[in-house]
Symmetry: C2
DNA sequence: ATTAATCCGAGTATAACGCTCGGTTTTATT
DNA sequence: AATAAAACCGAGCGTTATACTCGGATTAAT
């Protein structure tokens, strides 16, 4: 039931961009330094984020990444889905007709409810919320 | 964010016991057959369930497992915790003083809220609930 | 005595995770 | 024009966790 580091890093990295992009594209090197995450691993993560159109890369010197939507319009659910796939506690097999055994059905309802509750929290928390929270808590580039 | 098969199997197995224990201890072989789960893997799972006092084993011929509390008093949260440890979406490090970086704090709140919402659903669903649901859905030994 | 079961410690193949490496391309700056 | 900083990209790779299996010992009903 654990979120991989990929998902956690992605959210933390996105918060940094939300906080810093006012000064232009935010390079991965900066995020890596601030958050103590491997820059090369971040590259992989940002491939996913870019494919899902959550960020856009600016190449060349002075380049980096920008949010492709205002932070109010990006939820943590969006970010997690981009790097980890569907938010679900079990492999999703609505279609698969292996539902002949009763208890599978019974427990499936349960897992769907659990997954849904996770999604609600994540889809209800935007990057703007996290960024604001970070600012309140004395965030000052240090 | 996926639950391992261990957690899923554990819940399914416990539902079977809840449904069948009126006729005496339920052997793993029976559960394995009904749910199509490896009997030896079930053994491991039931070690955990027993250690957490959710079931008690009856040895010898005609033996098997019984719930050690009425099914109303056993939640799916209890079962999952028994076999997978704490229900949390991140490694729990309240104590660890590595919380100097703001955003860790910011995101930690989020992950705690997500974890808590999962726990609420699981702790609110008892074995009795699942068993009843299974009976309603035409469960008749087949 | 036999058989059906739990109990228990090890081992093991596969897959996922958490990266690293080496390179290409693009662009601002000098 | 040269340099440097950055995104972009494909591959590889060690470690850990998952999802089991194996071989036995013990217990108890028939």
């Amino acid at each position: 039931m654990k979120l991989s580091t990929k998902g956690q890093y992605a959210v933390r990295a996105m918060v940094v961009i939300a906080l810093e992009e006012h000064a232009g594209p935010v390079p991965l090197r900066m995020i890596a330094g601030m958050e103590d995450i491997s820059e090369q691993y971040l590259e992989q993560i940002f491939m996913d984020l870019r494919k899902e159109k959550l960020v856009e890369g600016v190449r060349g010197a002075k380049g980096g990444y920008l949010l492709s939507r205002p932070p109010e319009k990006i939820t943590t659910g969006d970010i997690v889905r981009a790097v980890e796939g569907p938010i679900s506690v079990v492999e999703c097999d609505h279609a698969a007709g292996q539902c002949e055994r009763v208890h599978i059905c019974v427990t499936r309802d349960l897992w769907l409810r659990v997954s849904e509750s996770m999604r609600q929290v994540m889809d209800d928390t935007s990057l703007a919320d996290l960024a604001e929270c970070a600012r309140e808590r004395n965030y000052k580039g240090e």
